[in-house]
Subunit: 453 residues, 2 copies
């Protein structure tokens, strides 16, 4: 069986067993079972103490389940995992070992043993020490986090691939509040079999996914990683956050998943060489992901995008900060052509600052942004629009105006909207129109950059 | 009269005239008048067309006002300002020229003229092209931004000094949502007389102010700036955001306030030499300001603070990202002493990761953070606590526990709390207890750094 098909079992299973199911949400096995009640397919809770769990028939032993399952979730103490795994021969296509207590706390021999058993019985393994899989299109959710503790993002086009379960939950939380939607999410932990590269390969052809956001602490097979990351980023937007960059971070990463983080400088230069995008921190990762999710047509390797940015603002200082950040990020705030200057000076009141940044001043009107964008659409590759909503001229109508403007321009466009006044409402309307909004000039620039490299 | 007293007239006036007052909030002169209705002192609107404006007696001419005023706000077209200013002799101590249309649009001669008039008649000038003054303790508010468009922050210990009115409003908006409070705010625009240095001098002895956040595009008198900034930062926390760093940013700054931004590298190295804190962007400025506002006892020049940070987390990956950022910011994630490792291993379950970062895992309990802080309070200079609230063990009780813990430890402490679940409630409770909270590990580290340099 080919790998693609094998990971279909993981992301789109028809049947799921849960070894270590519990009757109450006070236990992690109960939280998972409750989340599995939403699943479209068949669920088999395993627990010898119960005949029934949360309304489902419970099975005393994994072997008692009446059919081979696509995935089996193992939530039992690490020491029990080898024996449990041996029972999987011919009874599951993939084991998701959620239990911790392996290489990350020094139990490398135990981890090697389950790796060996997996190979012997011909079963794929996700984990151990992992969060498992979330696929909103299948209503599949193996996370041990209750819904009231982590609201899941809506369905969408972003796949989240995280070595760390904690960061996976942080990414999901951040995506939820940023109006971006999810296609799939997976926490792969210690990665003794299925790793980031296998998942990249699968996502390369996944029609629901346009953007892949990947948190990596360590890579097992460097060559494979480069191949798969390159292949994926040729078709889709791949954005990587590498953790464990310095000595203390690397030590922390080792005690977290038991794999060596490797020299960061090497990793960084390889990504750069293959034009694979790297986010410098968590905030950039989330800001860029929202932009890429809203503008998925732009492939990072398409090679047609330039770096010329037009900044339009209704507050001079905010334009200066944006111009500074453009410089730091290698974007070009190129001046306006002479003929356009003359034309804009005729269009606008004499006190507007007709430069780049274009300063619409506190006496701005909503329409001005669209007028300027239309007039200069051929001259620039990306549009950074700043609206300080503290003046009367900025209204909710700006969202409709810019939505229509976007259709005519069809180039990357992001907004910075400062806090206060109609800020929240305007942000929500713009983001419904798929124009991403950020709370500072610099964050807006960094997000725009992700669309222009 | 000495300068200190002279700026008292600006920040704590007893009487204010408004030249260009209007009857409706559709005009900026009406917005200002409405905001002045809250003022504790006497208000004199000037407008020849009305006998009364918003319930106040209106004066046809500035000369008709029955007493000399402390400040006169001028909101009339630039071309009228010289004549208006000449009438001020003996009738006002300070003119706040809010009108734009001077050097920032090339009208340098006009600007020089009002500068000359001001000197001739012996009056201080704020502006032109400026936002004016806000002092919540006097209920003084000269901003031309309506309250429903810009909610003002509560009273507090942060003074905001901004060359740009737009950035001033952005800073106020950001402070309002970050639970920090304001002592005074001033937008000084083109700075033909009163500049950032005069204001620094005044704030050095202002008892309501512990933290000064300053947005600068250009400095007129470099020597004076260094003297006053140094003097201020020896007594209080001064945090500067310099805009106009690159070529395009400098051009934008020039067309904004008509002063040369100067070579950034020189500015940067001078601040570094005198240990004056610089924020790298708007977000760092706001995050650091909140931290400094909550921990005002720590003077940046006290020289007693070290750089050893303890990271405590309930999610491994978040700890790794924090450790990486500590390294980038020059903070030291130093290992635990041997005896403490042994003690903590006895205190905590065996699966906790007893290192730095200290990993309390998904099975964390609220008390664990305080136990670890107490045990290690002598070994570290700052405490970075990470609580991912997606697990059952993190509850609202954490806020009370840490409030008490802070009292015993009395060292800088910041939290990263991820989005989701009880995140909002917990953040609000912690910030009421004056422990600042940030939505990513890296932002928390950068804020902690401001307390440790």
């Amino acid at each position: 069986m080919d790998k693609q098909a094998s990971l279909d079992f993981l992301f789109k299973p028809k049947s799921v067993a849960l070894i270590g199911a519990a009757h109450t949400e006070e236990k992690l096995g109960g939280v998972i079972l409750k989340n599995l009640l939403r699943f479209k397919g068949r669920v088999y809770p395993v627990n010898p103490k119960y005949n029934e769990l949360m309304g489902l028939k419970a099975y005393p032993d994994f072997k008692d389940i009446p059919e081979p399952v696509d995935i089996s979730l193992i939530m039992r103490p690490a020491s029990e995992v080898p024996e449990i795994l041996k029972e999987h021969k011919g009874r599951a296509r993939c084991a998701v070992i959620m239990s911790s207590g392996f290489a990350e706390i020094g139990e490398s021999a135990l981890q090697e043993e389950i790796k060996r058993i997996g190979k012997e019985i011909g079963i794929r393994i996700l984990g151990p020490n992992c969060m498992g899989v979330y696929n909103p299109y299948q209503r599949l959710d193996t996370f041990f986090l209750p819904y009231e503790r982590l609201k899941r993002p809506k369905k969408g086009n972003v796949a989240v691939v995280s070595q760390s379960g904690a960061i996976l939950s942080c990414l999901m939380g951040a995506l939820e509040i940023s109006n971006a939607g999810i296609s799939k999410a997976v926490g792969y932990g210690n990665a003794i079999d299925i790793d980031e590269s296998d998942i990249y390969e699968y996502l390369t052809d996944d029609r629901k996914t346009d953007v892949v956001v990947s948190y990596i602490e360590s890579v097992g097979d460097g060559r494979k990683f480069i191949d798969k990351a390159k292949m994926l980023s040729e078709k889709k937007s791949l954005l990587i956050l590498k953790a464990g960059k310095g000595e203390s971070g690397q030590a922390a990463a080792f005690s977290h998943t038991g794999r060596l983080a490797g020299k960061y400088e090497v990793f960084h230069s390889i990504l750069k060489q293959f034009k694979i995008q790297e986010a410098e921190d968590f905030d950039v990762l989330m800001d860029a992901t929202k932009a890429l999710s809203f503008h998925p047509r732009i492939s990072p390797l398409a090679g047609k995008v330039g770096k010329r940015v037009l900044v339009i603002t209704n507050g001079g200082g905010s334009g200066v900060l944006a111009a500074d950040e453009c410089m730091r990020q290698g974007l070009e705030v190129a001046g306006l052509p002479e003929d356009k200057i003359n034309k804009l000076k005729q269009m606008f009141p004499h006190f507007y600052g007709v430069n780049n940044p274009l300063d619409l001043t506190a006496q701005v009107k909503d329409e001005d942004y669209a007028l300027a964008c239309h007039e200069l659409k051929e001259q620039y590759d990306g549009f950074l629009l700043i609206a300080l909503p503290n003046v009367q001229g900025i209204t909710e109508k700006l969202a409709v105006i810019m939505k229509n403007c976007m259709v005519g321009i069809n180039k990357p466009m992001v907004f910075h909207i400062a806090h206060g006044g109609i800020s929240k409402k305007l942000t929500s309307l713009l983001e419904k129109a798929k124009i991403p909004v950020y709370p500072s000039p610099e964050r807006a620039v960094r997000a725009l950059k992700a669309l222009l490299v």
